[in-house]
């Protein structure tokens, strides 16, 4: 069904039905405070209204902020209020309340209209205008004072005081005006100063009276950022309010979205569709766009409903509160649309292609209708996730590792970014075209405003970056191709995904995402933009790479213990100590110098680096031998003088060591330079350079022999050699050409290896450079300007993090969590299997009354560390008063040879009742009880051998919260010792037809193993299948909407991405459920005998044909695991015999609630434990 035919319930009928449903609910004869009217009853009462219980329920949940019907029914006051409002609304409301049309803004009403007249939203515009005027007045005053001091500090002076003050006033006024507008883009109040500093920077740069600024844009911004902190603090309240009002105004305008917004949304949908499912039909794309348009139309209503109570009182919500409101409104709008889509055939066809939920989440965040998630913030370059040096090397082949290492340095990130953005050619070209068009229009404008001038400057800088990228990709493909090859070879679609991520960041950095503020002053810098793109690409959680130069062992320190014996020996000790210092310093500075030289030659050409390495190798060896011999002689002589006999030997050894070290570095340095110059000459085609260098060296050597006069002989020889070399070189060039160009396989391989090594050295150099920067930078200081080898993007500019980013712990993560909770209340149907990814719920150890946690220390042990004590800590936090508390504990050990239980701790006390002496029977609200006990992990006797084992400790808490029934919570802690038995040992990963498991997917599979290994029972059931083959096949090859299949034996095929661990658990454990059935007929027969199937029917989380016991059996097993950690969204399959999956709310283990018999069967017969 096309969207225009989706029938929306008439507003008046809806409200009448809600009133009727509320009365039904509170009627003891009908709803009895527990039930709402069924669909059939609604149809009977309101014929052809298309009203369903879901619509009513959703409305009530949102209105009451509550999902418990009993609690809604008990809220008499609110019910009365709603009924009154409905009555008054029905008198005046016209049609279209669900997706309301825009109503001209009336005067602000003192009465709250929670029924969605949108008066509150539309009243925002004049309020915002007034607030902006007031804020501009205050802010421009503050800024005027600040600009007066800033301009002279930048060297901007004027002999004409009046003119200077006029310039100051213009800058301050323009900045204040722009700040109040741009502040609506912020995601976190910490960005307020970014907005001020950025606007001021741009106003200064663009002012026509200001020229010849010495500071670069980003440094000017950094300087101003420090200066405007105080203003941001003083005006935070005003600007936060301006931000919120601005965001509300934008949302209100969505009722009549302008063409720019619609184009933006349409463009985003097209991009996502192209990436996710390029074969999506045009009419399906149109359908998606229409659905998104419906979402946009619904959103203001949903936001209005949430905001009305606050705004109508003349208040503005706090920023954090507003973020939560946005998230809630977003979810409500989605739920509204999804209810209609769930019944739509086109939507069902699209189920297998595009996730409507994911798509809407993206668009919502893009337009600022919901807070960004942390990942989105990273992708948009808002969180400074600098790529770690090794972030791109994990799991890479040697060649890829070298390229990956390069991506850790800013010099490689810029061409890398060019490669990724130019890869999407249509988008690349259209972006350039768009920017060019905008720049042209501004240039040709007759009367350019101050703001136009600022915008033009920014666009021109962006355009320059893109043109540079275009030039690089078009004219120097050899500079971008290695990066493209790198991403291409890292796995299917990785290049496309990387390009997409780079484009997300880039779009944000060119101001293309309405909801995202990135200071222009830093986003104009291509290196920062590239750094942010790769930061978004880099997997989080990797440590910073850092090299510390090796410290010498203290072997030479023996002198200290001999000092008291004789002066001679003491002298030898001092000599050894001094030698140690010399060697340490030689190693330190020599290594740094060699690496610096290596980087220098690499900067010239790879062949130069190859020459350098060869030269350094030969020279270093020769130098080490020569130096060692000479050093030994000198050392022996000194030693003899100090302490004849023993001193000769010790002195010789010490001298030899020093000589070897010094000789090596001198030889390597000289040889390396010679080799590097020759190599560079060969690569650049400069036969003169090659010849003259070679000739000089050989001439110097021969000259020194033929003319035995110190210095003079070698110099004459060098001079002759220099000229001779230039003449001879062309004749030998051809021979070298073949080597350097790699015309033979062997040489080519060598070249590749050298290239890879070169890349490695670059990366290594970048790391060392970063490390040395603080202390020993002087040694290689000359290189910094040329090479700019600084790891990461932002570090290069010394910007404070707050000047360029928003913190992870601020609004974003907090709101994202809040959003998840709200999302559960208004959860909706999802379209494709990926979209069905369950959302995380509270862990099984936490409920609304208490939280129980279990930790272990250590969590990882090697076999050779046994015997060892393992400590386990239980923490029980009461959220309300708890009585009748019972705590029990259990430790199971799964070893390679046998499983056993540990029943007592190291003191001999029983574990099943831990810490009995402190265990409370009652805990008051907010009380925290902890208990720690230890067990001994032994290697003897043979019945309790912990080697290669997995120790699983589970605590179970039961308690009675005040005025509530008994509650249970469980928590696990796991210790892995050696190589514990793992279910993954039974799995063999396979790949077919070009499909490949990515690292993320392998990690997800590992998480499946980690989950299952908690249960010995299921592992043993799976072991009956022998090796299980988990085969990755190309996407879509298993049929529409099918993610995984299992044959009649032990071969699983997976076609969807398993990168998400929750989704992987769901899919893979379901498929493993089939394998359990295939190889354990008795378990399946028990399942048939059990009342679960005959009483509860099919599992409802996945649609199967009636009579598919096998599928239901497998689904039960998957649900048992994931329902403990993740919650399914509510779903309702049309005509599905399993019925709808009712999600009662956050914190519920819905599987246990909805299908208790299945749950019990899975627990007792498949897993053997409560997860």
């Amino acid at each position: 069904m096309p969207p225009e035919t989706i029938v929306k319930p008439d507003a008046k009928i809806l409200f009448t039905a809600i009133a009727w449903a509320l009365q039904f609910l509170i009627d003891p004869q009908r709803g009895a405070s527990l039930n709402l009217p069924q669909d059939a009853e609604l149809e009977k009462q309101f014929p052809k209204s298309n009203l369903t219980q879901d619509i009513i329920k959703n409305w009530l949940y949102n209105e009451f902020g509550e999902t418990d019907l009993a609690k809604i029914a008990a809220n008499q006051k609110k019910i009365q209020e709603v009924l009154e409002q409905i009555e008054s609304s029905n008198k005046s409301a016209s049609e279209g309340a669900i997706v309301p049309k825009i109503i001209p803004s009336p005067a602000p009403s003192p009465k709250v209209s929670t029924l969605g007249v949108l008066a509150e939203l539309e009243s925002i515009e004049p309020i915002l205008k007034k607030h902006r005027q007031e804020t501009v007045a205050k802010l421009s005053g503050d800024l005027n004072q600040k600009v007066r001091t800033i301009l002279p500090s930048l060297g901007i002076k004027s002999t004409n005081e009046e003119e200077f003050l006029k310039t100051v006033a213009e800058i301050a006024q323009e900045t204040a005006q722009e700040v109040t507008e741009n502040v609506a883009q912020i995601q976190d109040p910490i960005q307020i100063n970014q907005v001020i500093a950025d606007s001021l920077t741009q106003s200064i740069i663009a002012h026509p009276q200001i020229s010849n600024l010495k500071l670069k844009e980003e440094k000017l911004y950094a300087k101003i950022f420090e200066q405007t902190q105080s203003i941001a603090q003083t005006r935070q309240q005003n600007l936060e309010k301006a931000a919120i009002l601005g965001q509300i105004e934008k949302a209100a305008k969505l009722q009549k979205p302008d063409s720019q917004t619609l184009n933006l949304v349409s463009d985003q949908i097209e991009q996502i569709v192209e990436l996710e499912s390029a074969l999506t039909l045009p009419e399906e794309r149109t359908f998606l766009k229409a659905s998104l348009a419906a979402y946009l139309a619904s959103y203001p209503q949903a936001l209005n409903t949430k905001l009305a109570p606050i705004l109508s009182q003349g208040n503005t919500p706090a920023f954090a509160e507003f973020q939560k409101i946005k998230e809630s409104a977003h979810n409500a709008a989605i739920a509204q649309i999804a209810l209609n889509l769930a019944k739509n055939p086109t939507a069902k066809k699209l189920e297998t292609k595009i996730s409507f939920k994911a798509l809407t989440d993206h668009i919502g965040a893009f337009l600022g209708l919901k807070p960004l998630t942390e990942i989105q913030a990273q992708n948009f370059g808002l969180i400074p996730t600098k790529p770690k040096l090794f972030a791109f090397t994990r799991g890479a082949s040697p060649t890829n590792a070298a390229v990956g290492l390069l991506l850790g340095s800013i010099t490689a990130q810029t061409p890398g970014w060019s490669a990724l953005v130019s890869y999407d050619k249509p988008r690349f070209d259209s972006t350039i075209e768009n920017l060019s068009g905008r720049a042209k229009a501004l240039r040709e404008k007759r009367s350019q405003t101050y703001r136009d001038r600022k915008e033009l400057l920014t666009i021109e800088k962006n355009l320059a970056n893109f043109k540079q990228a275009k030039d690089l990709a078009g004219r120097h493909p050899q500079k971008v191709n290695p990066f493209l090859s790198y991403f291409k070879s890292r796995g299917p679609n990785r290049l496309t995904q990387a390009s997409r991520t780079a484009w997300q960041t880039t779009t944000a950095y060119i101001g293309g995402i309405p909801a995202v503020f990135v200071p222009k002053s830093i986003r104009n810098n291509p290196a920062i933009m590239a750094g942010a793109s790769f930061g978004a690409l880099a997997p989080p959680g990797l440590r910073n790479f850092r090299i510390t130069l090796p410290k010498l062992p203290s072997a030479f320190g023996i002198g200290k213990s001999l000092t008291t014996k004789t002066f001679g020996i003491a002298m030898l000790g001092a000599m050894a100590h001094a030698a140690g210092n010399i060697i340490a310093k030689t190693l330190k500075y020599g290594s740094a110098a060699l690496i610096g030289l290596g980087l220098y030659f690499l900067g010239l050409a790879k062949a130069a680096l190859l020459g350098f390495l060869i030269g350094a190798g030969v020279g270093g060896t020769a130098g080490a031998i020569t130096g060692g011999i000479l050093g030994a002689q000198v050392g022996a002589a000194i030693g003899t003088a100090v302490f004849p006999g023993v001193g000769t030997v010790i002195g010789g050894i010490i001298g030899g060591a020093v000589g070897t070290a010094v000789g090596f570095f001198i030889g390597a340095g000289v040889g390396g330079i010679v080799g590097g110059l020759i190599g560079y000459g060969l690569a650049s085609g400069s036969t003169a350079l090659v010849g003259s260098t070679t000739g000089t060296v050989i001439g110097a050597l021969i000259g020194g022999i033929v003319i035995p006069i110190p210095v003079i002989g070698p110099l004459i020889g060098a001079a002759i050699g220099f000229f001779a070399g230039r003449l001879i070189a062309p004749f030998v060039k051809n021979a070298f050409d073949s080597i350097v160009s790699g015309s033979t396989t062997g040489v080519s391989a060598a070249g590749s290896a050298a290239g890879a090594f070169g890349s490695f050295v670059t990366g290594l150099g970048s790391a060392i450079w970063g490390g040395l920067g603080a202390g020993a930078g002087a040694t290689l200081g000359f290189l910094s300007g040329a090479a700019n080898f600084i790891v990461g993007g932002l570090g290069a500019l010394s910007l404070p993090a707050s000047a360029a980013a928003i913190p992870v712990i601020g609004g974003i993560s907090a709101v994202a969590v809040g959003g998840t909770i709200v999302g559960l209340v208004t959860a909706t149907s999802f379209f494709n299997p990926e979209g069905q990814t369950a959302t995380e719920i509270t862990p099984p150890g936490e409920n609304q009354f208490f939280k129980v946690e279990k930790t272990a220390s250590p969590t990882l042990l090697q076999n050779n560390q046994l015997p060892a004590d393992l400590s386990f800590t239980i923490t029980l936090t009461a959220k309300t008063k708890l009585t009748s508390i019972q705590i029990s504990d259990q430790i199971n050990v799964q070893a390679q040879t046998q499983d056993f239980q540990v029943t007592t701790d190291v003191t001999g006390k029983p574990i099943d009742k831990p810490c009995t002496n402190t265990q409370p029977a009652v805990l008051l609200q907010n009380d925290v009880w902890t208990c720690t006990f230890s067990i001994k992990a032994t290697t003897f006797p043979s019945t309790i051998v912990f080697q290669d084992s997995l120790v699983t400790n589970k605590v179970t808490v039961t308690a009675t919260p005040e005025n509530n029934p008994l509650q249970t919570g469980t928590a696990f802690a796991i210790v892995a010792i050696g190589t514990p038995p793992s279910f993954c040992q039974n799995i063999e990963l396979r790949e077919e037809n070009g499909a490949a498991w990515s690292d993320a997917e392998k990690n997800s599979i590992q998480s499946v193993c980690t989950e299952l290994v908690k249960s010995t029972k299921i592992v043993n059931l799976l072991k009956n299948a022998g090796t299980i083959f988990l085969t990755k096949v190309p996407e879509g090859t298993l049929g529409g909407g099918v993610c995984g299949t299992v044959n009649g034996a032990n071969i699983v095929k997976i076609s969807c991405s398993m990168s998400s661990s929750s989704f992987a658990k769901y899919v893979i454990i379901h498929e493993l459920g089939h394998i359990i059935g295939n190889f354990n007929g008795d378990v399946y027969r028990d399942f048939l005998n059990d009342p679960a199937y005959s009483t509860e029917g099919l599992m409802p989380t996945y649609p199967f044909p009636d009579g598919s016991q096998g599928e239901s059996f497998a689904e039960m097993i998957a649900d048992y695991v994931i329902s403990k950690s993740y919650n399914f969204p509510k779903r309702s399959w049309s005509n599905y015999p399993g019925g709808p999956w009712e999600n009662p709310g956050a914190g519920w283990t819905t599987f246990k609630q909805d299908r208790p018999l299945h749950y019990n069967f899975a627990r007792d017969n498949i897993f053997g434990i409560e997860f």
Binding site: N1078, Y1084, N1089, G1107, G1110, F1113, A1114
Partner: protein, 193 residues
Amino acid sequence: MNKFTLTQVAKLAKSELILLALGALSLIVFTLAILSFAKPKNPPPPASSQSPWQNNIYAGKTPKNELESALGSPTEIKEEQDKEIYLYPSTNKNRLHEIEITNSTVNIIKEQVISKEKGKLKDYIQNYGQYEAEFFGKHGTFAPGFFWGKNGILVFANKNDGIIVEIWYFAPTSTTDFLQKNPEIKQQEPQNL
């Protein structure tokens, strides 16, 4: 009639005719002996060797009234188009035997196997020989159906451990005919999704 003495018999045995006759006889006996070894021990049961359910109920033959007199009234009767389904209790209260009745005659019996009472799949292979076909029904790959059409029996059992979960009894038939009459049964292995 004169009685032969041992001496006279010995003389007769020397005659060539007797010797040839004895030789031929020996060859025949030897050949028969060899052939007897080569023949299968259990020749295929005749078409009439239909497997009954509960000793005396034959699908396609037993009338409804005989069924009721043998087993009593069913727990439940379902009516579907042109057939009735009689449900009889098994030893598990959650699983009922299903007997489909068409034209007042037992058409097909679906026996639920609760435990080890029916042995394992290998027992049926020993009794009936190699199954004619492997089918897939509601138990999917967990318990495919092993089909002996001539004996009118379909055994749903796990292929790997031989655990039997259900047995169908029907009048002897061909594979094609059976699949036609029971569209829920498939020849192709289902794709476990």
